[in-house]
Amino acid sequence: MPVDLAPFGARSLVWVGAQLHLLFAAFVLGAPIFIVICEYLGVRLRDPRYERLARETMKVVVMAYSLTALTGAFFTFTLLGPYRDFAGYLFVRFYPVFALYGLLILIETVVMYVYWYTWEPLARRGKGFHISIGILLNLLGTVVMLLMNGVGSFMLTPPEGVERASLWDLINNPSWSGLNLHRFIANITFGGFMVALVAATLFLTSSKKEDHAFYDWMGFIGNFIGTATLILLPVAGYIYARELFLYDAALSTFLMADKLSWFFEVQGVLVSLLFLAANYYMWLSTQRIAGGARFAAYMRRAFIAMVVASAVWITPQNFLPDLTSPAPLGVPLTDIVIPERAAFLGLMMAKGLAVTAVIALTLLNYLFYRRALATGSIAWGQIDHRSQYVLIALPALAVYTMGLMGAVRELARQDWHVYRYIQDTSPYWYAPSLAYTSLMLGIITLVFFALMGLILWLGFGLGKAASP
């Protein structure tokens, strides 16, 4: 390694830079999809709330754009020092991709500013044209994401005969499509939960009644989009994991049964918490509908069933940290390995059924909500205030989960920069412990939200303070 970045270490700084850049990029890619849909719904349903929701979210996106660029620059500079040989290799092999990436970012930024600054002028005549600009913005953002996914997925699943492979083969490597699908859906989920976070913060910090009604509704829409797409993520994750398995079965073993198996245990806990929290919000939403209380008994049972399904999901085959570690001294193996008759609980079949049950129960709770809505009206702004804390906890969980799965994807390469092709010979070639990973993710999550808090304060807090 040419230079290390003491005292934090090159890997840790690259990690923070890459993850922060990814989080901002996910937000500025995911939120505009949400925004254009809302703008369209505003026109279609003639409901001005959708228009306001789209506009307030876009205000946050515009500011988040510059932070995406700044964190991208931080990531690139920290990468180029300690990992210059490897970065140079990637730059040479993917030169047309990086050149196109730069060009598209430039065009996307221009389109984003055009979209934002033509909102008012095109509001009365030309709304359809404005929505078309939004669609173009999303198309550009999606292509940018696909390009970088090509580089990222190449590092884990390079095609056979890397030396002679064409640029298209490098991009269209065995896990590119799986990663594209998973990231596209996850970005919308993330965008939905971020909108809910913005809404909850503004709900709690605002003292106007009409604002409470609007932000209550905005939080509901954000959570709805987040949860609706969250339901698809386990399926997309399965497709991605299957691509990795077909590429190299040893990868799956390393992920699910060996060094990273406890990362997946924690992922099970996180996704269970995401679903439980989203359902709890749905429960609180149902309670504020006149007559909604009559569904309480059914929803209560659904919650109990969800906790049982989560228990199956996170039941480990054993409490050993990896495949080769022996049981700790004085601890009988039978204590830390799943009992024989219950062994089926540790198998993928049981986990798959448990996830399916959690998804089905979420849909069921949503049906109860719709049923309540059919016979009673919602008093927007009257929701139990605990619901807003659920909307604050949800993005924290979502960002942490994104970071964890990102770490898993990177650590799956083991001691390779490009799996089984370019070896990582730096002092940081080994997989860090889960505790260290968690600490890193905690720091990244807090820094990300501190920056988002700054954006909210600049965009909404200062504006409010300045207005009479």
């Binding site: 709900f203 709690l204 910090t205 003292s207 409470h212 079965a249 040893a250 390393f254 049964a257 060996d258 060094k259 406890w262 924690v266 806990v269 709890y280 429960w283 309670q287 209380a293 309480a296 209560r300 919650f303 906790v307 989560s310 228990a311 996170i314 085959q317 054993n318 409490f319 050993l320 940290p321 990896d322 495949l323 080769t324 022996p326 009988p332 039978t334 204590d335 830390i336 009992p339 008759r341 205030h385 605990r386 604050i392 906890a393 924290a396 969980l397 942490y400 083991q414 001691d415 070896q423 080994y430 997989a431 889960l434 505790a435 968690s438 600490l439 993710l441 905690g442 939200f449 808090g453």
Partner: protein, 220 residues
């Protein structure tokens, strides 16, 4: 419902009345905990259902979490003075609390950190071989366990040295192991799929191959 909200806001119920609504979730949680810590240890090991203490701790945490969720469901609506300093301050507090809990969760579970220089610092040939076996570069341990306990996609290697000596007539243990690594398809142990990497020998220097075989021959 709005009346209920108003009543809760006044807080004019005596404490014991307010607690009554939590009776069912609290009792249910206690019952589950009793089943985990009293009934399960009573089961004979031969029943195949006696979960060890780490499993009981995991399920207890889930029971407590589920109980808390049910209590939250039963609890009266909360009304805060919106826009107040308290409400503003509560946003980062809830956020920090959530992240802190997640970091603590990551630190609490079993984990492993590979020593930085496992291969290079090993002294004897057998130790060097063991380091190769556990190296993620070679990845033998990904499919082969030694002495059971963990799931394996390849044969368990406990007692390998003895089996290798008798696997093929006229072929010694060392020769057999060398062939199995260089040409994994030469003999597939029944009930296992032919999934062993074919290029393993190319990824090892002759010295590393010797070290690995020296280690495998100690598995008696």
């Amino acid at each position: 419902m709005r009346e209920e909200v108003a009543t809760a806001a006044r807080g004019d119920q005596p404490p014991h009345r307010r607690l009554v609504r939590f009776r069912t979730p609290l009792l249910s949680t206690l019952l589950v905990l009793a089943a985990i810590w009293v009934l399960i240890p009573l089961l004979p090991e031969a029943s195949g259902w006696r979960f060890g203490p780490p499993y009981r701790l995991l399920y207890s945490a889930l029971a407590l979490g589920g109980g808390l969720l049910l209590c939250l469901i039963e609890a009266r609506p909360v009304r805060l003075p919106l826009g107040s300093r308290r409400a503003v301050a509560s946003v980062p507090v809830v956020f920090l609390g959530t992240v802190a809990l997640l970091v603590a969760l990551g630190a609490a579970v079993p984990q492993y950190e590979r020593p930085k220089t496992a291969g290079e610092e090993a002294a004897s040939q057998v130790e060097r071989g063991r380091a190769i076996f556990t190296s993620p570069n070679v990845g033998c341990f990904l499919c082969h366990a030694i002495g059971g306990g963990a799931a394996s996609r390849g044969p368990d290697l406990a007692g390998l040295a003895g089996r290798a000596a008798t696997r093929k007539p006229g072929m010694g243990a060392e020769e057999y192991l060398r062939e199995s690594i260089a040409n994994p398809g030469a003999f597939i142990v029944p009930t296992y799929a032919p999934i062993m990497l074919a290029d393993l020998a190319q990824r090892l220097s002759p010295e590393q191959m010797d070290d690995l075989i020296a280690y495998l021959l100690t598995l008696k």
